[in-house]
């Protein structure tokens, strides 16, 4: 019989240089087998061909001055279309002198979003400050107090409108979607049937048709003289639409919760409401963070469909600028700018969702 004696010095032998550090990383990620090596070389070649011309077009040969002079015969990009029309693209037809109000509203929104990123700040006070913040934002946009002039919602547009539709749309759709999912998973026949009917009907029609219905068909049912604000109607359509998709994703999460979790909760004496709130939903919603953020992101981008009912959101204001003869032919620059704004918002959402997933991971 042999006896193994473990020598502590053997632990100090280092792995080969080629499997750690920069070299190790390059080998493992870029040249791992012939197929990956070929891919790496091809991609490098493609980058060499594409990046320098783009940099020349976008930066070196580009024009930035709002006057737009020299744009017509320039080789590079004409960013002047953005700098010259920035205020219209961002704020639409909102009165020029009062545009500090939507700007302030957006600053409040971004501040609240950033403060809410940290889960340590999630207290009741934060909920109240969100309510207060949203109210202040609405009042700032509308005006009509402290001597501020009233700006009718027909003049709202651009980025504030997009953010308004998105923030209210997402915060409205998520709880509604969760309720619908619980309803669909319910043992009560009537509730279940109603929820299934709702979800399938909404998912069966495109958002565009819902928006049309909200702007054309819905007013027909209202009594004479009663009107509902157009933005509100579009907002409702977005909420109803997104909620149906959220509901199906959350239902998937509910199905992933083991029977034993319900049984353990029930055997402690928790009732249905407590079981759902304390045990099932926290786990189910955590599981469905990735797909629900996907839905939220696509809902955010879908707000641009409100152009078809003649609301001046960010996309519509950009297109209006392009309709101006002076700026025709510079659509690439305008759309790149627009894409950047959308990208920043969407990246914030997906980045935050990954962080939440990491923080909520408890290893089981």
């Amino acid at each position: 019989m042999t006896v193994h004696v473990y020598d502590s010095r053997t632990a100090e032998i280092k792995p080969p240089v080629t499997s750690v550090g920069v070299l190790g990383w390059i080998r493992k990620n870029l040249f791992d087998g012939w197929f990956n090596s070929v891919l790496t070389v091809l991609v490098l070649a493609l980058l060499v061909k594409m990046v320098p011309p783009f940099v020349r077009w976008a930066l070196l040969d580009s024009h930035w001055l709002p006057s737009g002079s020299g744009c017509q015969d320039a080789q590079g990009a004409c960013w002047s279309i953005v700098t010259a029309n920035l205020r219209f693209i961002i704020f639409g037809f909102y009165p020029h002198d009062l545009q500090w109000r939507p700007l302030l509203a957006m600053i409040i929104l971004v501040a609240l979003l950033f403060y809410s990123r940290n889960r340590k700040h999630w207290r009741y006070a934060l909920g109240w400050s969100w309510l207060a913040g949203l109210a202040v934002m609405g009042l700032l946009l509308r005006g009509g107090f402290f001597g501020m002039a009233v700006v009718e919602s027909t003049q709202w547009g651009g980025l504030p409108l997009t953010l308004l539709l998105a923030v209210f749309g997402l915060t409205g759709a998520y709880p509604l979607g969760v309720l619908l999912a619980l309803g669909r998973a319910s043992r009560m026949r009537a509730v279940k049937t109603l929820c299934i009917l709702y979800i399938e009907m909404i998912r069966g029609v495109p958002l565009i048709s819902l928006l049309f219905m909200s702007s054309v068909v819905f007013p027909l049912f209202l009594p004479e003289g009663v009107t509902v604000n157009k933005i509100l109607r579009a907002q409702a359509a977005i909420i109803l639409f997104t909620a149906a998709y959220i509901a199906e994703v959350v239902r998937g999460g509910l199905q992933a919760i083991a029977r034993g979790q319900y049984e353990a909760a029930e055997s402690l004496g928790l009732n249905y409401y407590q079981t759902m709130r304390l045990i099932v939903l926290p786990q189910a919603l955590k599981i469905v963070i990735p797909p629900s953020v996907s839905i939220l992101i696509s809902a955010f981008k879908d707000t641009s469909l409100v152009v078809i009912i003649a609301l001046y959101d960010l996309l519509k204001t950009t297109k209006s600028v392009l309709a101006d003869p002076r700026w025709m032919g510079f659509s690439a620059e305008a759309y790149i700018f627009l894409a950047l704004i959308y990208f920043c918002c969407c990246y914030f959402m997906s980045n935050y969702s990954r962080r939440l997933e990491r923080e909520l991971d408890t290893g089981l």
């Binding site: 034993g260 049984e263 353990a264 055997s267 304390l278 045990i279 786990q283 408890t362």
Partner: protein, 255 residues
């Protein structure tokens, strides 16, 4: 253990009384004509081959499963379909599962305080003190801030026992509490159950741990095909089994 089973004809009413109880899963007659009385402080071990209905029987007692005929009376309250406060009865009956069923998104301490805070309406501070007391008792107090996923199976099952105890139940049901554990962790869980038994807790335990049955149980029930086939004191049950089926079962599990 030296203590005697509670005397028959105890002045107090039995804490659990089951009479003529039947249950079906679809067409399958899983429990047939069950009669069982459990006195306060009594400890009963239920064994039998798999599929014999032993788990279903104890799950009927806190109404995780519903019976279709006969009566089940727990602590003076009959379990019926139109029972309004099933949560109240469940709070009095602790349950420990084969697969622990801890809540993975809550810390150990939160797992323990959840029931007392939300069902018993105990203030948080008091609930935490109680929780620490019971964690101390199952020798795991130092893990209070961890999550279930960070604990071993044996530790998780001890937490599950402590979680039930925090509700200060009158009866504890154990559904094969050691069957999902690695062999070397079985003892730490059984030790906790034995010390619980010493304190006089009423226990119904579905298990194949015959050593536990011998040392702790007042009565052993043997079930097969949805019936209670044999019922006896551990000494009689293991040394002089009456039915052929019991003899066969014992010969297979006691090598």
């Amino acid at each position: 253990m030296s203590d005697n089973p509670p005397e028959s004809g105890h002045p107090e009413a039995p804490i659990i009384e089951i009479a003529g109880m039947h249950k079906w899963f679809g067409d399958f007659h899983v429990l047939q004509d069950i009669h069982l009385k459990v006195a306060r402080g009594e400890r009963i071990v239920i064994c039998g081959p798999s599929g014999s209905g032993k788990s279903t029987l104890i799950r009927c007692i806190n109404r995780l499963e519903m019976h279709q005929r006969g009566r089940i009376i727990v602590d003076g309250i009959e379990l019926t379909n139109d029972i309004k406060n099933i949560e109240k009865i469940r709070a009095e009956v602790g349950m420990v599962f084969q697969h622990f069923n801890l809540f993975p998104h809550l810390t150990i301490l939160e797992n323990l305080t959840l029931g007392p805070i939300w069902v018993r309406k105990v203030p948080k501070k008091e609930a935490e003190e109680t929780a620490m007391y019971y964690l101390e008792k199952v020798h795991i107090a130092e893990q209070a801030r961890k999550y279930p996923g960070q604990l071993s199976g044996g530790q998780q099952q001890r937490v599950a026992i402590a979680r039930s105890l925090c509700m200060k139940p009158n009866v504890m049901l154990f559904d094969e509490p050691t069957s999902a554990l690695d062999p070397e962790m079985v003892k730490e869980v059984l030790d906790v159950m034995i010390s619980l038994a010493r304190e006089g807790m009423t226990m119904l335990v579905v298990t194949h741990e015959m050593g536990f049955a011998k040392s702790v149980a007042h009565r052993v029930l043997f079930m097969d095909y949805g019936r209670i086939v044999e019922e006896n004191t551990p000494a009689e049950f293991f040394n002089h089994p009456q039915h052929e089926r019991t003899k066969l079962f014992l010969s297979q599990i006691l090598h």
